[in-house]
Symmetry: D2
Subunit: 264 residues, 4 copies
């Protein structure tokens, strides 16, 4: 058993808790590695049997994207703003690691999206793919095509294709619905639409094609990986891999995400 523990150094208390977790893992007899997350992310892929990550949603997403094996189970411990991806806060960290060590946990497999541009694979999104103009405050013109729907000549600042897990992220900041992460579906949410457009929900079995005219465009995946292009079609489908989360507590991720978003 080889476990990588990632912590965000600037999140107050994250390093201290990471060190406590490390000694728990050592005592248990697991091999582990302690990694510090910086704004530059990781230069090398993270190869391990399980990932424990302590930080905000940005840190959690970057760590997941750095995994050598995308379906490595992840235990996320939320530090700082957000925390939509973790159902464990700092105060429950030790309890969660104990549960992990004692085998009192299960894993949850949550759907991802995959984005391709004109057939070239760009990446997998845990939360969302955000198609937009490369410049803030400039519109894109696009057609949205699904097998049983074709909307032509749409104009907006962008379009966000979100997973259920990502629904409490960008999607909801732009008026999209909050979705139970157990569901498999694709949410398409416009950013500052000029033509009439609203959040749309499609089956995860469908391919969403966004034909982009008049660029330059970019696709931004999970707020981290950005790819520019001049013109072309972005295809968004359910990804081959899942996001695999380690769940140890009786807190309910769906409730936590939704209450957090509603400020309740």
């Amino acid at each position: 058993m080889y476990i990588t523990v990632v912590f965000h150094k600037e999140k107050r208390g994250a390093e201290r808790v990471a060190r406590v977790i490390s000694s728990m893992l050592a005592k248990w007899g697991a091999q582990y590695e302690l990694q510090e997350f910086t704004e530059d992310g990781f230069s090398n892929p993270i190869g391990c049997d399980a990932l424990i990550v302590l930080g905000g949603d940005g840190t959690i997403l970057a760590s997941i994207h750095a995994l050598e094996e995308p379906e490595t189970p992840v235990l996320a411990i939320s530090f700082g703003r957000g925390g939509y991806l973790a159902d464990v806060g700092p105060e429950e960290a030790e309890k969660a690691v104990t549960a992990l060590i004692e085998g009192r946990y299960y894993v949850e497999r949550l759907m991802r999206l995959q984005a391709d541009i004109d057939g070239e694979h760009i990446g997998e999104a845990v939360n969302e793919a955000y198609i937009s103009n490369q410049l803030v405050g400039k519109v894109v013109e696009f057609d949205l095509n699904v097998d049983n729907l074709s909307l032509q000549n749409l104009v907006a600042d962008g379009l966000i294709l979100s997973t259920p897990l990502g629904s409490t992220g960008y999607n909801s900041s732009l008026g999209g619905p909050l979705v139970d992460e157990e569901l498999e579906l694709i949410i398409a949410t416009p950013v500052a639409p000029i033509t009439n457009l609203r959040p749309l929900i499609f089956s995860s079995l469908k391919k969403i094609t966004v034909a982009c005219r008049r660029g330059p465009f970019s696709v931004l995946i999970d707020g981290g990986m950005r790819r520019g292009f001049k013109t072309g079609s972005v295809e968004v489908t359910k990804a081959r891999h899942y996001t695999v989360l380690i769940r140890t507590s009786s807190t309910r991720l769906c409730e936590r995400r939704i209450k957090k978003r509603l400020n309740l």
Copy 2:
């Protein structure tokens, strides 16, 4: 083969088209019955092998609810405003009936919702169940419970539980997402929420419980059947029956519904 043809007398042209359809059915050798829809609806259940209905969404919904056998296939021909339930307009009526006669059609099964109050069955909703105060402009206080989510002490004028087919109806007038009707899921959309609340999406396998305090309340199903109650829990689940639609054309219901709603 016994076919009932329902038309809304006040929708311009509906009666004339209904008579044309009747003679087509007669020529074909089918038995048929011509029924006029009035604001009072139907005093007796409609027993038939297939229903052809010409009118607006109100007429279509009322006719479906009057069916003796809930899963009787329905060919809906849209007259007037709305028409979110039909993908055939008046001008395509004859073509659609010809296709039906010649066997060039298929049926689509779309999920319904079922509403119970404290265990007593109230009815099945093709579009939505609307829980509210009995008076316009008065709030209700309620808790929303699903297996993995509990939101307490919510205050709003009402809550709408909608099917994907119904998503282009009340749900979308209140800011909810537009959903491909092929999906099976439940949308909960608040009406004039005072506490923070937004459209939520749940699996169709879940039971949504809305515990209502400080009434008097009403549940309104598909804008037609209304049931008052003082206090109690409304349970909304996927219904036992489906809405069965006869589809004859190559027009796409999903596209038609969404474009109509977006005014495109």
Copy 3:
């Protein structure tokens, strides 16, 4: 100086604080009257030089509407949910009354709206006039006319005409903007619109005419006074009278209202 003190008996602590205030007024030498607010409101008009009211927004609005002289200054002390109309909570009540007695206060005059149906005066709204079908879940058809704008054949469950002070009420539950109460303007916000419609903002110098077809309709003023009608035009203009609030503290009503509404 004759002061009426109104309290809502069921709001925890309101009566006790009302009695404390009464003895403060007695000591000061003012004449006063203590009135209990019930769901039935007041059978007689409240005649006084100043009104002190302890309760939620419903109590405050009902007390203001019961004033014999509409522009009697009001000191509102918020008990319970809401409290958008008061910038004093229970804990600041004594301090506020002391300030009132010692002359350390000022009055604020906030615009009201007036609603007429076909020329007949219906009432003045502190917060809003809500035009709708008489039944929950039924639409109205109407035209909206202002001098430089005419929108025809609108369909919605209702239309709310709100003051800036009322903007944090019904208007905002339905997606309307939050407005500094010092401004004078009229906000028209649709309820569950089927035709495309959004919150609109007009000058307070304009007359908004809502021509209603296919009723029965009702106009509900400040959630309390309801008037039914079959068909006709509702005219909404700036009212002759103002809402006159006594302000004693350094808390800022605008900030309080907006933060409350944003759950900040």
Copy 4:
């Protein structure tokens, strides 16, 4: 009388109509200059007694910003998408110019906003100033301060400060209200807010201060002029100059803008 006629070459028909207008002006005896609008805008300021501009909203805004004297009266003739700033379309162009020549017109003065960064003047906005991160999909942290309101630690992709005339632009794409352009007020509309925030409306007499932390930021004025900065306070107030529009027809700008935006 010296008149500049600007046309967008790529808008179908704009050049032809511009030439017709030029000969009308020549016949009338006015001096005029014909200028072609390109994506690069204008290298020199436009000095004239009146401006006639034929193009979309982008062309109209760029031409207004190129005016040597900001309050030069402008006759805008709409070609292409948008046209929220013009109440004359191509087909009415000759009639409008005839009215101008014959003196059958009036001018309308519409408020602008002024943006300063830490006291340095940035520019005047006909429509809006858009404060954001310099990168698409990255948040900004800011405080919003007005004299009677202070909202701290807000997080969003951006904040748009809009005039009433601009309300049908970016503001409304992001859910803000549609405002009669005759009013003077300031609308603050968040872009993809993470903290609870909604469109807010302030008096045009107020100074809105947006204290920006954690950049790099940019302020984009009317979708054309962009200024980057690292950290600092953006102050938005009513500008010294007005937008001066020549109105010749009986069409109503307010109605035209609102109907266009509602797709009615």
